[in-house]
């Protein structure tokens, strides 16, 4: 027997889809910004002379990279609840995703830091720049530039993985889909639409990162080098 698809029945719920998509993007945006910060700090921490800080950063990165995202989300969700912290599902989702993507960002940034030639740092030291100034002016941007494709892929992956936050009833796109399909009994159509929306969100993010790259790396823009 053939497949009968009834998209209009599902599509009339478009305001819900739109709301879910917006929330998914918001989740991704917050977690990307905060995770980039956290990950960069962890990558710097792994390279410091303090063995304690370096060890702590390593434990963090390895703990996250070797456990499932869903378990991490539950740990944050129930963990915060058990110490009496009542936060919205959205806040918990942002926190969990930030912690997760921070660990992957740390590994990527570490590779970027390690790719900076020693001579660059010596030249900066020879010019009397301080350690913080060297990180800021000489290491950070070229490191990001080197790993930019890996970094942005990771953030797009994070947006896709945020679908798992439906498990703690954050009202993002997949959660919206779950109740639309249980309302309409049109599961296949619903998830086809959701898949298409995720593809669009991914493309939007990639376009955003491409634009950001033009701003961050003026040399690429000037010399026409592809990222």
């Amino acid at each position: 027997m053939g497949i009968e698809l009834d998209f209009p029945a599902v599509l009339e719920r478009w305001p819900n889809f739109l709301g879910g998509a917006v929330l998914t993007l918001e989740l991704a945006l917050f977690a990307t910004v905060l995770g980039a910060l956290l990950g960069t700090l962890a990558a710097v921490g792994r390279g410091t002379h303090s063995a304690l800080i370096a060890r702590a950063c390593k434990v963090y990165v390895e703990a996250i990279r070797n456990t499932p995202l869903l378990v991490q989300i539950f740990l944050v969700y129930f963990g915060l609840a058990s110490i009496g912290l009542k936060l919205s599902a959205f806040t918990v989702a942002v926190a969990a995703l930030t912690i997760n993507v921070g660990a992957y960002t740390a590994e990527i940034m570490r590779a970027g830091f390690e790719a900076i030639p020693r001579g660059q740092i010596e030249a900066a030291e020879g010019l009397a720049l301080s350690r913080v100034q060297i990180y800021w002016h000489i290491i950070l941007l070229p490191a990001v530039e080197r790993v930019y494709p890996a970094l942005t892929s990771q953030f797009v992956l994070l947006m896709l993985a945020s679908s798992i936050c439906s498990q703690i009833s954050a009202e993002e796109l997949t959660a919206v889909a779950n109740y639309i399909q249980s309302d309409t009994y049109r599961a296949f159509e619903t998830y086809i639409i959701v898949a298409v929306i995720y593809i669009i969100l991914s493309l939007v993010m990639r376009a955003g990162f491409w634009g950001l790259g033009l701003v961050l790396f003026p040399r690429r823009r000037r010399l026409g080098t592809a990222l």
């Binding site: 001579g119 010596e122 030249a123 020879g126 010019l127 301080s130 002016h137 010399l223």
Partner: protein, 252 residues
């Protein structure tokens, strides 16, 4: 030509400096001094310790024993103020080490702006001044990769000059360059010498060392084996230096 400089403390002085990498003794009691306005050339074979000696002056290597005083800073002591030291000392490397993501102007203005807290307009003027000194005014907005090796090295020299150092260190600055690009860099250094800059250079360019250096230090197996005016290159006293300059290293 600069022999009549007043005789207070030398700009750079090394006394009985020792340095080992693991079990390898790279510097084995090295002593020399550089007076204000003097140009000192350190020569010797690969592995003789000449680059290490130079790098000790700016504390890119820590010494095991001995005393190093540079512009009044006790470089051998652990509590030396590195940033103060490096404001007095400019160093130029073999591999230029320009910052690839910054334009030539940004390369030059970064340290005066961040370290000396100079105003942006002031540092731009400064950039033009030092670029004029090395003949690269038209490259002010170019990125390093758009420059030839010789131009990059001249830009690196300009970047150091912008910090107005009291002494410049050159670590084999022409070794990575094609012969036809070497000349333009050497010309810049020559002009600096003529302007009275105090300089210490490690070099393989014997002809250049002979024409520009007030004094030569010939290093051999971690020691200063022979030292004296440039004339020691033409009439060496030790067989080692004779052999070194005789191996075809002495170009006109």
């Amino acid at each position: 030509m600069q022999q009549n400089a007043s005789p207070p403390a030398p700009i750079v002085s090394l006394r009985d400096v020792q340095k080992s990498f693991g079990s390898l003794r790279v510097l084995d009691g090295v002593s020399f001094a550089v007076e204000r306005g003097e140009v000192l050339a350190i020569i010797g074979r690969s592995g003789s310790g000449k680059s290490t000696a130079l790098r000790c002056i700016d504390r890119f290597e820590k010494v095991d024993r001995g005393e190093i005083v540079v512009c009044g800073h006790r470089v051998d002591l652990p509590n030396v103020d590195l940033r103060a030291l490096r404001q007095d000392v400019g160093i130029v490397f073999q591999s230029y080490n320009l910052f690839p993501h910054l334009t030539i102007e940004q390369n030059i203005t970064l340290a005066p702006r961040s370290v000396k807290r100079m105003a942006a307009s002031q540092t731009r003027e400064l950039a033009h001044k030092v670029l004029a000194q090395v003949g690269l005014e038209e490259k002010v907005h170019a990125y390093p990769e758009q420059l030839s090796g010789g131009q990059q090295q001249r830009a690196a020299i300009a970047r150091s000059l912008a910090m107005q150092p009291k002494v410049m260190l050159f670590d084999e600055v022409t070794s990575a360059l094609d012969p036809e690009l070497t000349g333009e860099v050497l010309k810049v250094i020559e002009q600096l010498a003529a302007d009275g800059m105090t300089m210490v250079m490690v070099t393989h360019e014997m002809g250049f060392a002979k024409s520009i250096a007030d004094r030569i230090v010939f290093m051999h197996r971690g020691k200063v084996h022979e030292t004296g005016p440039a004339s020691i290159l033409t009439s060496p006293k030790t067989p080692e230096l004779a052999q070194f300059v005789g191996t075809g290293n002495l170009k006109s």
